[in-house]
Symmetry: C2
DNA sequence: GAGTGGTCTAGACCACTGT
DNA sequence: CAGTGGTCTAGACCACTCC
């Protein structure tokens, strides 16, 4: 007759109780992905709690990416985005493709490598090119002196149906790439797929790529811009390309919603021989 | 005379306002790391909001890792843990050290490589060895048949002063390692520093290590066990060691609080030559 | 045992959505 | 314009901390 009974339904009294009940309903299939969830008032009546408590539970599940819906609008069970992988093998492939013809590169879809998304007409890319003074951390990695500028390329890939998007920012030392005017032209080709090839046109070969990986919560802007639930972390890759002389020649900051992508890094070890 | 005035202090009315005010006080140095924060009631009076609103603001900052303090106790500005790096270069170093003598390995501190923490008397390691039926995902990676078991080693590294801890779980196919009884002994040596060496004793050379990286929010248990603020994401590495025959021989799941460590992965690219 | 953090009910208001 | 989500004030209770 008390809470130690484990088989009978426990009384729903607190926000965590409501959360558990909703998760159970989804797990049991009573609520399917895409289905509308009853309103806060209806949930409050159904579970015998105050509307505020129901609201808090629904807010929590929205933050966790389980539910979705605009403020003031209806709420539904979120359709989870497909899970993909991003492997550092892509760097080997991209380098091998750099020497191939333009037709071959376009056919293989080099541009897909950085976004890890199939390029379809469903997406539109918004690209911006600017020559700017670099942030101090960028200048430090490039080893730039005061006053030396960088080319900043920002990309927002937006899903036309509003089902999600991804974006990134990349930097190149301006002194390095001004030798080839094509590299300053935003309309020249899909970006940033061919960065390695673009650097090849000015005589630079990439010898090493370093990914620095952190994770943090999405900014409110990222939440709305890239459709990241506010409680889902963002993997942040700072990808630094080094030339064969070991100079940093490109830096790309790539945010990746952690509920969509798994990062894979293979480290090949030398044999013992001895 | 309205909210568009940007220089005058805006009126503090909502929880986000209180959050901004507290962050500003910390940024300006009025509140130093370690300082006590006024109680919810005091903050409510100070900013002219209800105690509930102040409580919500403080809760949010605790979740974000800015403030800290037990429920029911005083609240203080959290001392941010030092930032370290975990590079895949460690794998090369660890392999090179495997052939060295035991003294050399102990002196170089191979065990530090996996934890990325200096081993001091401040820490105590709690290690558990079990032979168990593997979870299905583990069995699949190892390619185990039904009924084949694994050695599971769990480690909790706890800071004696309560300033944080880290932990990990690793799996080895039992059929593989039963050849060397030492590998079943939890007291044999600090773990998991010498896993590569331990596998060497049964004739296995590691040829490739794959790190699969994801991020998610800490479980409530991790929050208390490892002192991770509930709003700080956890980087999760599934480290898979492959033998030179490309068989998976060890799997380690390593959770890393994202506010303490940056992951670094170097990918070396082959030269063009042609 | 007083103080504190956390959270529930209760009622109210606002901004936005969805017809 | 009705419905909905979000959130603030208000008051209350509980568990825990700290002295």
């Amino acid at each position: 007759m008390n809470t130690s009974d484990s088989t009978a339904d426990p009384p729903v009294r607190t926000a965590p109780d409501v959360i558990s009940a909703l998760l159970a309903a989804i797990r049991e299939g009573e609520l399917q992905p895409g289905d509308h969830v009853p309103s806060n008032s209806a949930l409050a009546a159904q579970y015998g709690v105050h509307r505020n408590t129901a609201s808090k539970a629904v807010s929590h599940l929205k933050a966790a990416g389980v539910l979705s819906g605009p403020a003031g609008g209806k709420t539904w069970v979120r359709v989870k985005p497909p899970y993909t992988r991003r492997s550092n093998m892509r760097y080997h492939i991209e380098k091998a493709l750099t020497l191939k013809s333009e037709e071959e590169r376009a056919a293989t879809g080099v541009a897909e490598l950085d976004s890890n998304l199939k390029i379809e007409s469903l997406y539109e890319d918004l690209v911006d090119y600017d020559v700017v003074d670099p942030p101090s951390d960028i200048a430090e990695i490039f080893g730039l002196a005061e006053g030396q500028q960088v080319l900043r390329r920002t990309r927002l890939r937006r899903h036309r149906a509003g089902a999600g998007s991804s974006g990134s920012v990349s930097y190149l030392p301006y002194d390095l790439i001004k030798r080839n005017p094509d590299l300053l032209d935003a309309k020249r080709e899909p970006w940033p797929g061919g960065t390695m090839h673009q650097l090849f046109t000015i005589g630079i070969e990439i010898g090493r790529i370093q990914d620095r990986v952190t994770a943090s919560m999405p900014t409110p802007e990222e939440s709305v811009e890239y459709d990241i639930p506010p409680g889902v972390p963002v993997l942040r890759i700072r990808k630094i390309s080094y030339s064969t002389e070991d100079d940093a020649v490109e830096i790309a900051d790539i945010p990746i919603p952690a509920d969509r992508v798994e990062l894979v890094y293979d480290t090949m070890l030398e044999g013992w021989e001895s």
